[in-house]
Amino acid sequence: MLDKNAIGRASPPTLNEVEKGAIRRFAEAIGDYNPIYYDEEYARASGYPTIIAPPTFPASFHSAADLRELLGVGIKSLLHAEQGFDYERPIFAGDRIYVSTRVADVSERQGMSGKMDIAVIEDEGRDEEGNLVFRARRTLVVRASKETP
């Protein structure tokens, strides 16, 4: 059973600078050649100030979070069960986004082979003025290890 006290535990915001090259490589890796991710002029003609990032781009952001510290356990395995994003606006090349991570929930479910620990981890990205840009939420099945973090 994961410690309920972990809920709300958070990492300090970490700056992520959104570089054009990083957007391009991310879109290429997905095999998505939509010019909106590559071509400045095309993006402007499409109504954006500059090129935008693909919707799952926040997956490439860094945060200072160490899941073992946040959850307070050693981790034997993690299973990524679900992922969700909420977007306030697109992410643009040149954005400076501060990402912090917090434990949104921990719970226990009865599975076929015993109890499973579920952790919901939420990343929040804000711009330099503090405006929310996105929230990312992942649901993980956590197998804790005996070792302490």
Binding site: A81, Q83, V120, T139, E147
Partner: protein, 224 residues
């Protein structure tokens, strides 16, 4: 010259998004995605490592497949703004697998000059097996005229559009954005998890944990 945009007025509940068949996943792509995402979990890039923990080979991170399904949405909803995008990982995707992304408009509504469509989304492999399912919400201009008005600083066109939903489809995958409500409700396949053998890996999960897409029991309503 940007592609033609999609406007709310032309979308109907039940509309299908043109299916997107991605090129087969290969190990080069897995390396590129690792580099681009910063997730160097060796189960996705190191064949020897993956085999040493009992996997038949490396496999795709779930987030890569979510990116593919994201392409389906962005290709279709040009000019729209994605508001929400949720998925559930169901089956692993292996090198050689071809991911086919599909979607259908499940809901549309508009109020106070803001117009939204919800889309049911799913991805299948070349055997037609469901590998991922989810939903997205897109905000759109009502029409070209609405876009032109708003871009010139005028107020939006306001037409009240009562919520219309796909009758046959419970709004499980797109509803409410409460991803935790539908959180893992079933046990991950134990044998699959054993094969991933992450127990032998004592390294610290980084801020982005191993995206181990385990075989969760398929939802009952796999496809349409």
């Amino acid at each position: 010259m940007p592609a033609r945009k999609l406007y709310f007025e032309s979308i109907r509940v039940g509309d299908e998004l043109p299916a997107l068949a991605k090129a087969p996943v290969d190990r080069v792509q897995l390396s590129r995605y690792a580099g681009a995402s910063g997730d160097y979990n060796p189960v996705h890039v190191d064949e020897l490592y993956a085999k040493s923990v009992g996997m038949p080979s490396v496999y795709a991170p779930g987030m890569l497949v979510m990116g593919m399904l994201g392409q389906l949405i962005s290709d279709w909803a040009r000019g729209g703004q994605m508001r929400r995008y949720n998925v559930r990982f169901i089956k692993m995707v292996w090198p050689g697998d071809t991911v086919v992304c599909k979607g259908r408009v499940s809901n549309r509504h508009g109020t106070a000059g803001r117009y939204f469509v919800d889309i049911d989304l799913w991805a299948e492999n070349q055997r037609g097996e469901l590998v991922m399912k989810g939903g997205a919400q897109i905000q759109l201009f009502y029409s070209l005229e609405d876009e032109n008005r708003q871009r010139s600083g005028q107020s939006p066109i306001v037409i009240e559009v009562p919520r219309e939903s796909l009758a046959a489809t419970p709004t499980t995958s797109t509803g409410g954005g409460s991803s935790e409500a539908s959180a893992v409700d079933e046990e991950a396949d134990e044998s699959d998890e054993r094969r991933t053998g992450a127990s032998s890996k004592k390294t610290v999960p980084r801020e982005k944990p191993a995206a181990k897409t385990a075989t969760l029991p398929s939802p009952k309503k796999a496809k349409k």
